[in-house]
Symmetry: C2
Subunit: 222 residues, 2 copies
């Protein structure tokens, strides 16, 4: 039986049992963005009613990124043979499509699996906890958001550095390189950077306030 | 010319130009531990004079781990051909020896280089900043220590997960596996875990204090 040719680069990549995609790029994007919009709208109107705009926005981000980590990336981590899927499973189709931007997903590069595993198993649930922490104004809210954001940044660094070290030749063409590999991941560099910067400032301000308050109390008690 | 046989596993690993070690394990450990003891003693007596014991201990840890990251791991990252070194360079000998516990250092595994690169270039200098931050009681002291510790933990996770995914067969024998690969790295799991736990608690306590103080002020101003 002749193997179906895969669309991935490097062209000599062996993917025995590969089953071609059935969903189009636009269907995949529509479902993913539609589901994400649904989640974001739900969080915005249900959980963030009495919150400032920025907190509501952050809750939406954490819900969106947390579910992406757990559902999409979680499926990838625990489905080593997604490229053989012949039931048009949506999640398998997502990764067949994304592999056009980075074939290391199809070839199960160990650095990619390690980063995605940490992201799906540890960071995903932590993101949902961040939604709760912001909603309830928990004292660990900023430090949790900082920890996850730094984890996302560390993951992106490992992801990009290993690609460069291995020759940076994993995209089917420059459209997929810039839209999937750079474009999609770019959001997970930009937003975690902004969030961690904000949390860092908030945590430092809180620490400085405390030192000041302690100094005042000391002066008073003299 | 016949190649010198290397001591690493897997046995079929190709290391063209490999030059055997000249320093013994005990000389390498003596120099590394001696230099570390010197740094730790210096920090303990010079910088931490009026500090509580725990702060002094932490400053020693940050100085030790920062210099290890920058000097040892920095050398590894930027010396792709350390295994060819024939001048008995101490740092090359360190990595020739350590590769007996994990041959991915000699074979330039990309996940190992990515993690070591982040550790040497970003975390190393950040550790020295942590010494300064503790010494001067800076408001960013805890958050910086937390960020570095979480980075160290993330790095260890990637390091161990990729080894497992690639077959966990990179040690010359079980002595090197347990002493170098597990034993030496274990400290960089245990200590960052304890440090990040402590910093997390401190940051949360500070945030809770602030909320309380703000509530009091609000009540007073009514």
């Amino acid at each position: 039986m002749e193997e179906a040719a895969h669309p991935y680069v490097p062209r000599d990549l062996k993917l025995p049992g590969y089953v071609p995609m059935t969903l189009s790029m636009s269907s995949i994007l529509t479902v993913y963005l539609g589901a994400s919009l649904f989640v974001v709208t739900l969080v915005w109107f249900l959980f963030g009613r009495k919150k400032p705009q920025l907190d509501k926005l952050l809750m939406c981000w954490w819900a969106f990124t947390g579910l992406t980590h757990m559902v999409l990336e979680g499926y990838f981590v625990f489905s080593p043979e997604f490229f053989k899927d012949n039931k048009s499973c949506f999640l398998a189709e997502v990764w067949k499509e994304y592999s056009k931007g980075d074939s290391r997903y199809a070839s199960r590069d160990s650095a990619v699996i390690a980063v995605e595993g940490i992201t799906a198993v540890i960071e995903g649930p932590a993101c949902l906890l961040a939604v709760y922490a912001i909603a309830k104004g928990k004292s660990y809210s900023y430090v949790l958001q900082l920890a996850i954001s730094l984890g996302q940044l560390y993951g992106c660094l490992v992801y990009f550095i290993t690609a460069i070290l291995e020759g940076d030749n994993f995209a089917t063409n420059s459209f997929y390189y810039y839209s999937y590999y750079i474009g999609a991941n770019g959001w997970w560099v930009l937003i975690p950077f902004l969030v961690s910067y904000r949390c860092w400032i908030k945590i430092c301000a809180s620490a400085a306030n405390n030192v000041e308050a302690a100094a005042k109390t000391k002066k008073k008690n003299r």
